[in-house]
Amino acid sequence: MSIPEERLMAYADGEVDAAERAAIEAAMKADPALARRVEQHRALRARLGGAFNAVLDEPVPDRLLSAVRNAPTTTDGDASVTDLGRARAARADAAADSARKRSKWTGAQWAAIAASLVVGAIIGHFALQSSELGPIAQRDGHLVAQASLEQALSTQLASEQSDSGPVHIGVSFKNKGGEYCRTFVVQQGASAISALSGLACRQGGAWDVRTLARASVSAGSEGGYRPAGSELPPSVRAALEDQIDGEPLDATSEAQARTNGWH
């Protein structure tokens, strides 16, 4: 049965009705090549998310917050809002203000990008910063969990974990491609103030790290590495929300998945 590529993409995006979904799923069972193409479309979506969700973790520049709070509106009943000269002057002020701050925030921004993207930059970053036994390694162009992170992803249950280990597991779930995935926070290096948060999925007998971001760590907690309020960085949460199929695993199904080796 031949299915147009557009319909496979619509299926991968959850944009087909029940009848078409049933027809496509039957066709995928009969033809593994179709299933692979659907998986490829989903992987592209996840990859785009992985690249751009990092923006969500960046601090919003002051000039944008200031524009939202102070730019004039028509409903203010302020006649001067239509005064273009004044609007331009305000904009020029904001631009000058942002120019003064630019060098500062660009640094933070690049740090966020370097820490967040599953691309060459972060692989290089890891190669430089982590020893052979760091939590994440590069393998065939992928990032995979190793050492304490791999151990924790394979064995640690979100429902039964201490607060003092090097890895904290957040949510376990099945993604739309049927793989088991887990969010995590891992302490980076010896310093407790540096932590990484991410999302890894079980693929080919390894934990494939699909999203990675610097986690903000609550200040002052001794030896604490968990992100403030145990919140995931926005980029990791966005990846989770986009990729999850249904609900997160409850304690019982999580334990069951571990018993079955996450297959």
């Binding site: 993409m9 490829q40 520049p61 730019a71 509106t73 028509t74 409903t75 660009t106 921004q109 691309v119």
Partner: protein, 168 residues
């Protein structure tokens, strides 16, 4: 200041990270992207009477950012046509030859798509809008969204050399 304007400002503060992400997927640089967001916020607030309370503020803002981006691209193209004619147009380079020269980052690959594909990819695959919602933002039929998305995806997959951009 009216109550409703204040409520919208509060919602906009919460939307800013997503607006920045959307602009980042369109613009050439992070700084240009924030310029787009700033311009769109200013335009939106001045035209607040055109927003229907109860409708989606994010979709409305995406539309304003996208229009600001199109304006900017046009004026930039006019400037560039004087100084840098070779950069005046954005084309998907021959995808196959591009892919084997070097592996592109996702951002670089997206930047190579024609604008009408890039904006659909951004709205649906990055911002997570339904096809119908993206069609409303862009004011085109849903079939146009579907076909542009398909072409954009195929170009990206070709540019990125297949799944995960893995080494062949």
């Amino acid at each position: 200041m009216s109550h409703s304007a204040e409520a919208v400002r509060q919602q906009l503060v919460e939307l800013l990270p997503r607006l920045r992400r959307f602009a980042r997927s369109l613009a050439k640089s992070p700084h240009d992207a924030d310029d787009l967001v700033q311009l769109a916020v200013e335009r939106a607030l001045v035209r607040l009477d055109q927003w229907r309370p109860g409708s989606r503020l994010d979709s409305w803002m995406f539309g304003i950012i996208r229009n600001a981006w199109i304006d900017e691209t046009r004026s930039r193209r006019r400037r560039d046509s004087v100084f840098e004619p070779e950069e005046a147009g954005e084309h998907v380079a021959d995808a196959a030859s591009e892919a084997h020269i070097h592996r592109l980052s996702v951002e670089a690959a997206l930047a190579r798509l024609p604008g009408e594909q890039r904006e659909v990819v951004a709205l649906v695959l990055i911002e997570g809008l339904a096809y119908k919602e993206a069609a409303a933002v862009l004011d085109v039929p849903i079939g146009t969204v579907t076909s542009r998305l398909a072409r954009g995806r195929e170009a990206l997959e070709a540019l990125l050399g297949g799944r995960e951009g893995g080494v062949p």
